[in-house]
Symmetry: C2
C-alpha cells in the first residue's frame, strides 16, 4: 500500500493563545483534505511553541557572566540569546567553532537547545521548544478527536543538523498516537536468520520527508501523512532519546 | 502537491551479475506501476551490492592480529568479519562497548563500515557497501532511461544508527539525477529575515521515509517516490558527508 504526504496549506500566522486544532482543521477544510482514522498529522515545533507562548523577549533577559563569556569566545550570538539557550540546557555536549551543542531537559541533544531566531513573531524574540512536546502532541490529537471524531496520530518535528552528515533533517520531538519505534526484531531475513538490531525509528523516518515538504517561513508548517500502516499506541518521543550510557558520542 | 511513496513488490532474490534494472522494471510492470519522468527510485544498498558481487566469503579471509585483538576486546564478532570491516575502513572513529564506528573510503561514518551479516545470499558470506554508490545509482538511472525513456532519479540507501537518537533510519549513500541538498538560503521568513543555515539534506529526508516502507528481508528492497518537485541535477551523495574540519564529532 502506498503512503501519501500532503502539505496543509493556508494555515495563518500562529500567535500565542491560538487554538492550533481550529486553524489546522479550517485550513484542511478549505483545501478539501478530510481527515480519516489513522492519518498522521505532522506539524513543526515552531507553530506549536508560538501557540503555547514559548517565546522569549531578548530585551527582558540579562546575560549571566558565563553567557557573556561563551558569546565572546565561541559564538557570534547576542549574549542574551546564549543566556536563553543556557536556561534550556541541562548539559553542554560540545562547545566549539561557534557551535553550542547541548542536552535539553527531556534529553534531546541539539544545537542551541532548539532555540530559534528565525521566523519569530517579531524582531527581538526567539522561539523555544515546547516545554513538553509529547503533551503538546497529545493535546492536538485529543482536540482533533473531539471535533472530528477521527483517531489520528500527531508528530511534532524540528529541523536539526546531524554529526557526520551535512544538511538539516526533521526529527520527531513530540508524539501521540503512534509508537516512536517499529520493532522488527524477531522477523527473519530471507535465510531464516533473525534480523537482529533492526528497530526502526519510524517517527523520525516519517518526520524526515514530512518536514521536507514543509516551508516553515512560507506559511506551510504542517503536513498530512496517509496510508502508513501502524498499530495505534499511546506514543511518546522519549524512546528516540538514546540512553546516555549507550551513547558513544555524548 | 502531494507526494506518493509506493513499495515495489515482487523483486526476486538478487544474485551477483543480475541486471537490477530488468528486475525492477519487471516487478513494476507486474504491479502496474508505470514510471514517469521525475519519479525517484529508492533502492536499498543490499540488492545493489549483491548484483555487483560485493560479497565476501568469510572462509576466504584470514584475520590479522589487529582484527583478532579487536574481536577479542570490543565486539562479539568473528575476527574474520572484523578483518573484512577493517579492509573497508580508512579511520576508526570510535571503538567501544562492542561497537566499531568507522569512516569508509568515500568518507561515510557508520557502524562496521556498512558490512552486513543479515540477508546475505547464503550463510558464510557478508555484504559490503557498493564500491562507488554514486556510480551504481548512475548506472541504474541510465539503464532505466535506455529501456523506458523516462528520466528518473535514483537514491541508494542504507539503514544506520545515529548518535544521540535511538533506532535506525535509512540514509542516502548513492545518488543520481537529484541534488543531495535543497538549499533554501536566500529564502526569507515571514518577517523578511533570511532563513540562514537552512540547507536541507533532501536525499536523506526522502531516503528515511522510503526506507521505512522497505522490508529488506521480505523481498521488498525498493520504493517509488512520485510527485516530489525537484530540479533535475547530476547528483552525488558526496555533499552529505560533513567535511571533517566542520565535524565536531569525528
Amino acid at each position: 500500500m502506498s503512503i501519501t504526504i500532503s502539505p496543509i496549506t493556508g494555515i495563518p500566522v500562529i500567535r500565542p493563545g491560538d487554538d492550533l486544532a481550529t486553524h489546522l482543521l479550517s485550513a484542511m477544510d478549505r483545501s478539501r483534505l478530510h481527515l480519516a482514522d489513522a492519518d498522521i498529522l505532522v506539524i513543526c515545533q515552531k507553530v506549536v511553541s508560538k501557540a503555547e507562548g514559548r517565546i522569549a523577549r531578548i530585551a527582558d533577559i540579562t546575560a549571566s557572566p558565563f553567557a557573556e563569556q561563551i558569546a565572546a569566545q565561541t559564538t557570534d550570538k547576542d549574549p542574551r540569546i546564549v543566556e536563553i539557550i543556557l536556561r534550556e540546557t541541562t548539559r553542554i555536549v560540545k562547545m566549539n567553532r561557534g557551535h553550542l551543542i547541548v542536552e535539553t531537559g527531556p534529553g534531546w541533544v541539539c544545537a542551541n537547545a532548539g532555540v530559534d531566531e528565525s521566523n519569530s513573531l517579531e524582531d527581538g524574540t526567539v522561539i523555544l521548544l515546547p516545554a513538553d512536546p509529547d503533551a503538546s502532541a497529545r493535546r492536538l490529537k485529543d482536540a482533533v478527536r473531539a471535533r472530528t471524531d477521527k483517531d489520528v496520530a500527531v508528530l511534532i518535528t524540528d529541523t536539526w543538523g546531524r554529526p557526520w552528515r551535512d544538511g538539516l533533517v526533521d526529527f520527531a520531538i513530540g508524539i501521540a498516537g503512534i509508537d516512536a519505534m517499529l520493532d522488527l526484531r524477531g522477523e527473519t531475513d530471507m535465510n531464516g536468520r533473525e534480523l537482529h538490531h533492526t528497530v526502526m525509528a519510524q517517527a523520525d523516518a516519517l518526520a524526515a520527508t514530512a518536514g521536507l515538504m514543509m516551508r516553515k517561513g512560507a506559511g506551510l508548517p504542517a503536513v498530512l501523512v496517509r496510508g502508513y500502516a501502524f498499530k495505534p499506541a499511546k506514543g511518546s518521543a522519549a524512546p528516540l532519546i538514546r540512553p546516555r550510557e549507550l551513547d558513544l558520542f555524548r
